[in-house]
Symmetry: C2
Subunit: 120 residues, 2 copies
DNA sequence: CATGATACATCGTGTTACTATGTATATAGA
DNA sequence: TCTATATACATAGTAACACGATGTATCATG
């Protein structure tokens, strides 16, 4: 990832599950979409992605199937219902965790959760 | 930490530096203050804290000094100017990182940075 | 025909946080 | 008094995680 490695650890699975919640994707596609969706902040490496996909599949959070595209096989991944539940838990965890960091770091910024937007 | 380990990796140093930016503290005190300041979310273990303190001291981000309190020696840590600069960089990194995760995860909540509060 | 992008995958390495363990003093309760 | 708990510092070994390096193969482009 392009952000400090220190901060990247552990958030890989929530990112993958989130992307797959909108659409079935194959590995390479996931890396591209993640890059776009994060405004070029995240650049997941293959050495990170594929082992994580296999682990999530072993857990039953995602399922794979092969499909042909442009004369080439692509391995697509689909979120299972268990994976959807896992994603919700991970979202909750992320909210708890990031709010706690914000509180300790105590920057000047404010965060609102589910409220009305002030701007934009 | 009481949150999933997966999410904890890498944020230890920003938490320690943030706490020390307000006041000199000794190790055990840091664990207690972190617990309070995070609304009981973070519970840093000694096996995590002390090696991290020593590493930060080796980097020159913090300095230590012994002081007597209650008939017992306590090893206090003080943020250096280099440590203060490091903290600012880590805050910037945290903002970039957490915003990127939010964007990908795409929850219903909104985040504002330094803007006027909507509520509260 | 060569180069780069696409596409999947594994192995070894380094970092990081944790568990377990060790030492020692102060305090509170039985 | 004795014991348990909290306080206080520290290290060694372990497991998880992301990465770099590497390998294979196809497709488009020049």
């Amino acid at each position: 990832m392009s952000v400090d490695k220190e901060l990247m650890k552990g958030s890989t699975s929530i990112l993958i599950l989130s992307l797959l919640s909108g659409e079935d994707m194959y590995g390479y596609m996931l890396t591209q979409r993640l890059h776009q969706a994060s405004d070029d902040v995240f650049e997941m490496k293959e050495g990170t992605l594929y082992p994580m996909l296999h682990a999530l599949e072993n857990e039953g959070a995602i399922e794979s199937y092969w499909a042909e595209a442009a004369g080439r096989g692509r391995k697509y991944y689909r979120l299972t219902s268990a994976g959807r539940a896992l994603l919700e838990r991970k979202k909750d965890e992320w909210r708890v965790y990031s709010r706690a960091v914000d509180k300790v770091v105590g920057t000047a910024r404010r965060r609102l959760w589910g409220g009305e937007p002030c701007e934009g």
